[in-house]
Each structure stands twice: as C-alpha cells, then as structure tokens.
C-alpha cells in the first residue's frame, strides 16, 4: 500500500478537481436525495445524499451499524426507501426486487458473492443468464460459447484461470470476488455495488480486488465501494461518503480530504475529540500520545481498525 506514485495520484486529482460530474458531462447514473429508511420506529438511514457517476468510484464508509447495508439494499432493490428520492438517470425510481435494479444496470456483488461453490467457474459465470442454442424441445446450453466468453471476460479483468471446469469453491477468496465482479461487468452493469469486497480477504487478495475495482472504473462503470477500511477506500476512491448512525457525516471528493482525515472520520472524528477532552480532565492518560484531530496539524496516528 505504500508503493505510491505521486504523479499518478495528481493525474487522478486533476481529472476530477471537485469530485463533481464526470468529464463527459453526463449526469449521475444513480443519485440519492435525502434518502432514508425506517424499519418500524427505527430510523436506519436518514437524509443521505449520494451521486454515482460513470467512471468514478464512490466509497461509502462507516462502522458496523452505520447504515451501509441499508444504503445498498435501497439502491439494489432489496428494500424500499421511506423518505427522500432515489434517481436513476435523473428519473425517480422505486425498486421492488433486485431484478428491477438489475434491469436498470445496477448490479450488486454481495459479501457472499451470490455464487455456488460446487459448480464450475463457467456455470457460475452464466448462472441465471445461460446462453442457449437450438429450438425449444432440444434447446440446450451453448457450452463452448459460454466457456469462451467467460474466459475472455475473465482475462479482460486480468483473471487467468487454467481450468474453467474447476468448482468455483476451489478458487481463492480474491479470485472468487473477481469472478463475481467480472460477471456483473459482463452482464451490462453500469453501476456496480460492492459490499465489503475486501472484508474477509488478506492483504494480497485485497490488492487483487482493488485492482479489479480500478479496472471496472476504467471501463466507465460507476462503482459504489462499501467498506469499513479507509485505506482500501483511499486507494481507489474518487469520492468518499462516511455514514455514521444512519446519517451522512462526511461527503467529500478525493481532493478535499486526506487519508488521515478520512481515517479520523471513520474512527469517530468529533466524538474522539470529545473523548480526548474528557480523558484529559480525568487525568492519568497521556493525551498527547493519542491520535489527534485532523486540524491539529500534527501527523495523525493510524487506527488499525478494519485493516484485514
């Protein structure tokens, strides 16, 4: 993660100085305006604004219970929002099933990946959208074409597999994640929602997945990257939204926020400061050694939370 290339970074920053609309001038693919969701009398999400542009990675960060899952469930059609608006291509929508969201080009790669471990890679790739040939009574799977296409698509995403017949379960976690992403990209996703794709992965495998996220962005997809790891988010993100207790605590473009600030927001930001003051008053705690607030101007410590 420390192999930084400053030139590349500035290139990214220049391309998107304000984190605003994409260079093509196209509007956001998906936009949330004051969206919220209540389950009975529990308000899981409230007043969230979010915009997903083509060729941009929007990172949604937050601790457990911050409302990340609720947010993606609204966008992916598993749940309906109870306040505000969800717009796709500028038109308000209300999805009843994931299929409707899929039809609009919004594909979600869930944590469990929606794959079947015992089935071969190519069958998993086309599951639910199989290619067939022949007239009805003898309509059959076009196995050769499916295998060829799956292989091509996986290679385009940089995944090289020797044997597409091997059960998906024999692949590593990162590879499986990548197959799921490649599948979503192939089936016409314009917006890719990734639900904590790096949560259960090791350092190297996380790198693999982040590479595919970047590859998906380069293909012009809008990516929503849900994570609780600010380091992973900062490596690929163009825009960062931090959720906290169901509301948006931070919404900033890459140029407006540093990794330290992001980490600090993730870790509780303002709350941590208050805690620090309390500890100071209580005495006995070496407050100077604690991670500082972003405006303190001193190098902030890096909480290890979330690093896989």
């Amino acid at each position: 993660m420390t192999t930084a290339d400053p030139q590349k970074t500035t290139a990214v920053a220049e391309k998107d100085p304000a984190g605003g609309p994409a260079p093509e001038g196209a509007g956001p693919l998906v936009e949330l305006r004051g969206a919220g969701k209540s389950y009975g009398n529990i308000r899981a999400l409230h007043g969230v604004d979010l915009a997903v542009h083509p060729g941009r990675v929007t990172c949604v960060l937050g601790d457990n219970g911050a409302g990340k899952s609720t947010l993606i469930k609204i966008i992916s059609g598993l749940h309906q929002h109870t306040e505000g608006e969800v717009l796709v291509d500028g038109t308000p929508v209300r999805f009843n099933t994931p299929r409707e969201a899929l039809a609009k080009g919004i594909a979600t790669v869930y944590q469990d990946l929606a794959t079947v471990p015992l089935m071969p890679v190519w069958r998993n790739f086309f599951l639910g959208s199989e290619m067939t040939k022949g007239p009805w009574p003898v309509r059959r799977l076009d196995i050769a074409r499916m295998k060829r296409t799956a292989d091509e698509e996986l290679r385009n995403m940089g995944i090289v597999l020797d044997d597409l017949e091997q059960p998906l379960g024999t692949l590593s976690g990162g590879q499986r994640q990548s197959v799921a992403i490649a599948r979503a990209v192939y089936f016409g996703a314009r917006v890719l929602i990734l639900d904590e794709p790096t949560a259960a992965l090791g350092v190297k495998q996380s790198g693999v997945v982040l590479k595919y996220i970047a590859a998906a962005r380069e293909r012009g997809l809008g990516v929503i990257f849900i994570t609780h790891n600010p380091h992973h988010a900062y490596l690929v993100g163009d825009h960062f939204s931090v959720l906290r207790l169901g509301t948006l605590e931070l919404s900033a473009a890459r140029s407006e926020v540093s990794l330290e600030q992001l980490t600090n927001h993730m870790a509780g930001g303002a709350e941590l400061d208050a805690l620090k003051h309390e500890l100071e008053r209580a005495g006995g705690v070496d407050v100077e050694a604690l991670p500082g607030a972003p405006d303190a101007g001193e190098p902030a410590g890096t909480p290890s939370e979330g690093t896989a």
Partner: protein, 358 residues
C-alpha cells in the same frame, strides 16, 4: 501533511490479456484422477465389483434370463431413483416417494373399476393426482420454509393413512379389485408392463424406460438451463435467487418430477399385478434415496449425476437377485444393503476428497 499512502491507480497496470496464457500455478491432474472426481465413477466401480462377485459366487447369474431379472428389479427402483436423485441434487428430500407410488396405482385402479371407465381415464387421473402431491410438497416447503424432510414426512404419513382408509372405504377390502378385464387394459399394459424378446431372453419394457429416462435426465442435468438451475438451487439457494434463477419454480417442479416417477412406477405395478395392495410402498422411499446416495449424489445437494443412480439401482437389483441366485437366505438382503450403502458412501467421500484435492 505528508501523505504516504496514496492511490496507485491500479488500472494503469493493464490486466493480463491474450489467450493461451496460463496461470501456471495449477498442474493438469492425471486422467485417472480427473475421472475419479466425477460423481458416478465410484458407484460404477462398486457396481462392477458386486457384479463380478455374484458372477463368481452364483453361476446362474451368467445366464441371460437371470440378467434380465436383475435388470428388471433394478429398473423398478431406478425409474424412481432418477427423479429422487435430481431432487436431492436440488437440495431436497421426498420421504413420500414410496407410498406415493401406491397412491397413484390405487387411484388409477379405483377410478377405473368403481366408475367402470376405460383404464386410461384412471391412468390420467392418477397422473394429475401424483403431480398434485408433488406440487403440494414443493409448495408447502417453499411457502413455509420448513425442511423438506418434515413436509414430506407429513405427506408420507398422510398418504399412508389415506391409502389404507380410502381403499377400505371404497372397495371394502385392503386391495383394489382386479382390473385386467377393463377397457384399455391391454393397451396400457403394453406401455407400462410388457416385455419383449432380445434373442431368446425376455426383457421387461421397464428396463428400456429406465434407460431412456436416465439418458433424458442426464441430458437435462448437464446440457440445459433447467439442469444448471437444479445444481444451483441445491448448491446455494440464496445465491441462485440473487442471480435470477427461479428457485421456487425449480424446487416445485423437481417435486412434481418425483410425482411423475411415482405415477410411472405405480402404473407399472398396477398393470403388472392387475391389483394393488394398499399397505405397500412403506420403506421404498429409503431405497430410492439410498440408490441416489450410492449413485454419488450429495445428501446436502448441489452435487451428483443422473447416471450414478442408474448404477446405484443396478447394485440394488444385483444384490437382491444375486442373493437368491447364490442360494443364500434372502433375509440377508437388507444387511447386505446396509453394508453396501455405508461402503459406497465412504468410497464416494474418499474418492471425491482425493480427486478434488488441489
């Protein structure tokens, strides 16, 4: 502000592309190992072993007519083992499969005889009833989310009682009346229970049906969308639903397929014996399930084949008849079966583990 952790836009390092390039981390496994990884190979070897064993032990088995008997025995189990195996690959059980056979046969017999109609009417009504029982099992399971074990245990007990009670109510007896002189009987018998000569050996038609159904099931399982869905709903139901597989349709139709199998075997029994004993069929469901498991189907679903249960059913037929041909006490059959079931399952497990190990 010294930011050391900056983004390295990874997409600038182009993903590997171009065909022919290999990962290089996996070795091509030997042909033997790849063969062993197939679900039906273990049971095939087992079937060959049992066959050779009885070939040596019981000289009568070497005659063509004995072989025909073995195959006939196997076919009556095998025709039902096929849909039961597909259902098992789809992740579910059907404990009512055994008594459903008798329910179907009873329905056809009683409708035809009591209403004095062409037997084909009874046959069709029985088909509708069998499919309905299957649909009910599937629908109940999908709607309530109860395990299929419980739902079909209920159907099993229910049908068992209904079989006895309704038969007694309608015929005043525990068996149905002989329908061999009814209209259309000969025609129906030629479909469900005739035999033909192959050289000088008389072969039952069910053997042909069995192999035709097995070929069909194999094709559907491996070469069609529906087959893909069967593996998917058995392997991971939620994932399958998330990618757009019609899980409810697949599960219910699999139960109805078992209903179809029960109907077919029921019709065979009816037209082979002209009458049906209402208390039969109990325990058969476990034989079908055992044949499917011996045939390499995973109890938890998502893995298996249609050809495996063919060999599984053959093993059953071979052992049950082989014991008779060898002149042993047939009481040993079940004991033999138990050993065979455990042995086959262990061999399957071992084979799969050693063959799929990376």
């Amino acid at each position: 502000m010294d930011v050391t952790q900056q983004a390295a836009p990874a997409a600038d390092t182009p993903p590997a592309s171009g065909t022919g390039q290999r990962d290089g981390r996996t070795r091509q496994r030997s042909l033997a190992l790849r063969l062993l990884a197939r679900p039906e190979v273990g049971v095939f070897l087992g079937a060959v072993a049992v066959f050779v064993f009885f070939l040596v032990q019981a000289p009568t088995v070497r005659q063509g007519s004995s072989m025909a008997t073995v195959l006939y025995q196997a076919s009556t189990i095998g025709i039902m083992a096929l849909p039961v195996a597909l259902l098992m690959i789809g992740g579910e059980f059907d404990l009512s499969a055994g008594v459903a056979v008798i329910s179907s046969a009873l329905t056809a017999a009683m409708i035809s005889f009591q209403l004095t109609m062409n037997v084909w009417v009874g046959v069709l009504v029985a088909l509708v009833l069998s499919l309905a029982v299957g649909a009910f099992n599937g629908w109940m399971m999908v709607r309530t989310g109860l395990p299929s074990f419980l739902v079909t245990l209920g159907t099993f007990l229910g049908l068992q009682g209904v079989n006895l009670a309704v038969t007694k109510l309608v015929t005043g007896n525990v068996a149905t009346d002989d329908i061999s002189d009814m209209d259309g009987f000969d025609q129906a018998k030629s479909v469900f229970s005739s035999s033909f000569h192959l050289g000088d050996v008389q072969v039952k038609i069910t053997v042909v049906w069995w192999l035709v159904f097995a070929a069909l099931a194999t094709w559907v399982l491996l070469r069609t969308k529906y087959g893909n869905w069967i593996f998917a709903v058995g392997g991971n139901k939620d994932s399958a639903r998330a990618v757009g597989v019609p899980v409810t349709f697949t599960k219910i139709s699999l139960f109805m397929l078992v209903g179809f199998g029960a109907w077919f075997v029921g019709m065979h029994q009816l037209f082979a014996f002209n009458t049906v004993q209402s208390g039969e069929g109990v325990g058969q469901e476990l034989i079908y399930i055992a044949a499917a498991v011996i045939g390499g189907c995973l109890l938890t679903g998502g893995y298996g084949s249609a050809i495996g249960p063919v060999f599984g059913a053959f093993m059953f037929g071979m052992v049950s008849q082989g014991i008779v041909f060898a002149g042993w006490n047939p009481d040993w059959f079940k004991a033999f079966l138990g050993v065979m079931l455990l042995g086959a399952t262990l061999i399957n497990l071992w084979v799969r583990q050693s063959a799929t190990r990376r």
